[in-house]
Symmetry: C3
Subunit: 362 residues, 3 copies
């Protein structure tokens, strides 16, 4: 008799064991091609990530892999074990990049199940994981927590796992690669973007004027390249019946990357490193053809070291209407959507807190 | 008097000489960018091709270029001399990858005309070629035969060829790079995909659940990158009048790559090398916007060496309907379409036999 | 009180100072990924730019970055300071590539304001700049002049510039990398494309038969990768109100690249280097979905050195109708559109003069 199998991956609520660590099976060498495909969608003005000269001028041995690419790889690698059945991605917290990853490094990721609970309606649950991305030497290059909404029960057709004999350190270490620990040497060049640490004051609001329309092919290429295996992003047949939008939806990590890139000429042009992301959420979904825009609010500014300081921004991404127009209409752009009693901004697609190490002029 | 030329390439039936070898003019260094663009469309779970760590753990000096990319380059390089006038690509046979190609290698290809004959209607013909892809040292990295349907007569505007003083070895050598000849060392990592050699039994059918919708830009980018010069894939003006579909059609080598990638988490996650493809055909064409799915049937399993064995799959690719649904409707999925008296599966876009070297658990 | 800023970049007519040099802030390492993305849109037959073997055979140390990619980077890097507010790109002149750029080089660009003047209607002006692209050692790898049509007045929300303490040499040096100065060694291979220096005669017209349809994602990816920051290419919301086409328009440097690539099998298959482009203009715009075609006319042929000679082509790009059909209808294809009293070719999207160093058979 013919044995017909239809393997499915990801987990439903009862498939998760609190305390378990899943070693995600993907094993990928990051190369210059990935960097270019990332740069072809996300026009990031932060010099360290784009220029070997700029990177070496701050003490790194080469141009590092963009932290946002690492975050996207971490999320995507984890889909196979964590969220391939998920209904929604709910939150990012405590995202950090404690060491530089370079092209040529080979990456893996694992996820620790921190918690899980059914939602009050009882027909689904929230799972809370911490994902860590390490290179071929076991060096931690990205760590973050996220929450996802998953269906109840179990995935019937899930093949038995290969052994997951991995452990995660209890708390990930600092927020800055060790190469960037000392005082910051002066910039390697004349000219450059205008927005140094000195240019920001707490309370400043910046509406970033240029938007980016999302291409149908490009978001699928990125999801595929990242090894994101959720059919919602690339399988139109699945999406017609199973997507809230009745069509393919852009992977949230890409939406976040677009919004950070759109803000970058105004906020990160004198940037040196991403000190972390926190309190991130996706209030609504994005489709191919949507145009994304960004706005930033300065919520903290601190001296960090000789030649540089940190600035913390609250970043908001919206679709199809420039944020300046929304502010003119009185939109409450920077209050988190979750828990808003009124004034929900239906155009909002992402909100997150980002801390950057920026060069100082003074 | 003005001399107006309108050069055209490829060959019609009378342009082919049996026994001739055409040295295709393309001369291309394969780089990490090509690997990434390939990985951005084809999410392949086979670790050797994606991870330098995994590749070195089996004895290769670096992550090799995906065999499927080599096959695609070979087909595409040959279009200029062989199939730029072709009406259809009919068959692939005896595809093998006897040596590893690495990023940085520079590739050329040549095609030997094995045979040609008019079809019975007399208004077209079938040409049968063997194409070989070699690196800068003349090392054979890919060999295959294919058949194409071409118009009768000659291409009037074809410029005279540069000399083709190349020879092909009579029969291509083995199916495995010499670095992989010895016993297979244990895997380099904990965890990984579940489907080892031990998990397959002859007769097993696997329907791969996730599909992939094809982007308009991405399939044109790949055809262009591969140096496929047939206007059917990228020239909408040509295609409106000359394509069977009245629009651009996705290059068949890409369709094959999508279908193999869609099957890969369930069949190739413990894969080490592609031992060959055979008896491949494209029963119908694929357009941008179509969603591809795959199904596999295990047709042979053999012990090959210490730590690994070979499994031979019959793979089928279909469009816009998941294979599980087709099987539920009683579709005869795994019988070749050519020569079927009845029960033709109109959704089928590719069928091929693939042999993989897979790790064993036992 | 909240300070809301909406920074805008580029310059309007009164923002330009004749004699000023703007050091563009982008600082980008060119990598194999950029080369592959470029090759995935522009199928260029010129061997030097695609093959390490071919490049080394003429004395270069590696496969160089395509000159057309350098020109595109130069134009795009300058948008932030020069043309982000521009209404139209009017002309390219004196484009040259005096040194080879290799993958791994880090590029910057600067623009010297050569002149500016209001147009007669008084509601806009023309700015004329010379842009230079240099590598990490200050070596000039691309120089060109261009003219753009800009609005009158000033950009109110433009942040104050970082200091631009850069100087440009008065006149860029030669047209050939020093590695290519000596006699040309024979080709590294048997076979290759047919069109050597010997095959062209002044007055020859060549209609290139295969067209290329432009993908929506791919042209946005390229504009983003190049760091072109004009919203016209990627921001559909902006374009609906501010584009002449009421939708996104393809960056002209890409249109030029497509047209040169479409001509390349017939003109550049025996090419060694681009000796320069001149008298270039874009008579009309191109949108995603348009199909581009090319035609060439030989306007000069000279002996240049042992083994090679130069050929100068007048190249024309048209959209959605093959040039052979336009010629059959009596179109005056090779007369520049600007200043034509009658017989304007409305399908024409680019025209430019290109000089190539080509191998000789004799």
């Amino acid at each position: 008799m013919v044995r017909v199998r239809s393997p499915r991956y990801g987990r439903k609520l009862d498939d998760f064991t609190v305390g378990a660590v899943y070693a995600h099976p993907w094993d990928v060498t990051v190369d210059e091609g990935m960097l270019a495909l990332f740069a072809a969608s996300f026009q990031d003005a932060l010099p360290t990530y784009a220029s070997r000269v700029a990177a070496r001028s701050v003490g790194l041995r080469d141009r590092p892999v963009s932290p946002l690419l690492l975050l996207n790889l971490g999320i995507s690698f984890s889909v196979h074990d964590v969220s391939e059945q998920a209904i929604a991605h709910l939150a990012y917290t405590d995202v950090r990049f404690p060491a530089a990853c370079y092209p040529g490094d080979t990456l893996r990721a694992s996820s620790l199940v921190i918690g899980k609970k059914p939602v009050s309606t009882g027909d689904k649950g929230v799972v809370h994981v911490r994902t860590q991305v390490v290179n071929q030497d076991g060096l931690l290059v990205c760590s973050f927590e996220r929450k996802a909404l998953v269906p109840p029960g179990r995935v019937a057709e899930r093949p038995e796992d290969a052994p997951h004999a991995v452990a995660q350190p209890d708390a990930p270490p600092g927020r800055l690669p060790k190469e960037l620990d000392g005082p910051l040497p002066p910039p390697a060049r004349q000219g450059g973007f205008a927005c140094a640490w000195d240019d920001f004051e707490v309370g400043d609001v910046i509406t970033h004027e240029v938007g980016r329309t999302i291409g149908d092919s490009e978001h699928m290429q990125l999801a595929t390249l990242l090894r994101n295996s959720h059919p919602l992003h690339v399988d139109e047949q699945y999406s017609r019946s199973s997507s809230f939008a009745k069509t393919r939806v852009v992977h949230g990590g890409l939406v976040l990357s677009w919004v950070l890139a759109l803000s970058s000429r105004d906020t990160a042009g004198c940037g040196v490193w991403d000190l972390g992301l926190d309190e991130g959420a996706h209030p609504s979904g994005v489709l191919a053809g949507d145009t994304l825009f960004a706005a930033s609010k300065v919520i903290a500014r601190e001296e960090a070291k000789s030649g540089a300081g940190s600035v913390t921004f609250r970043l908001v991404g919206v679709k199809n209407t420039p944020p300046r127009a929304l502010l003119d209409q009185g939109a409450d752009l920077f209050t988190p959507e979750l828990g808003k009693a009124e004034g929900r901004v239906k155009e909002k697609v992402v909100e997150i807190t980002r801390t950057l190490l920026l060069r100082r002029r003074s």
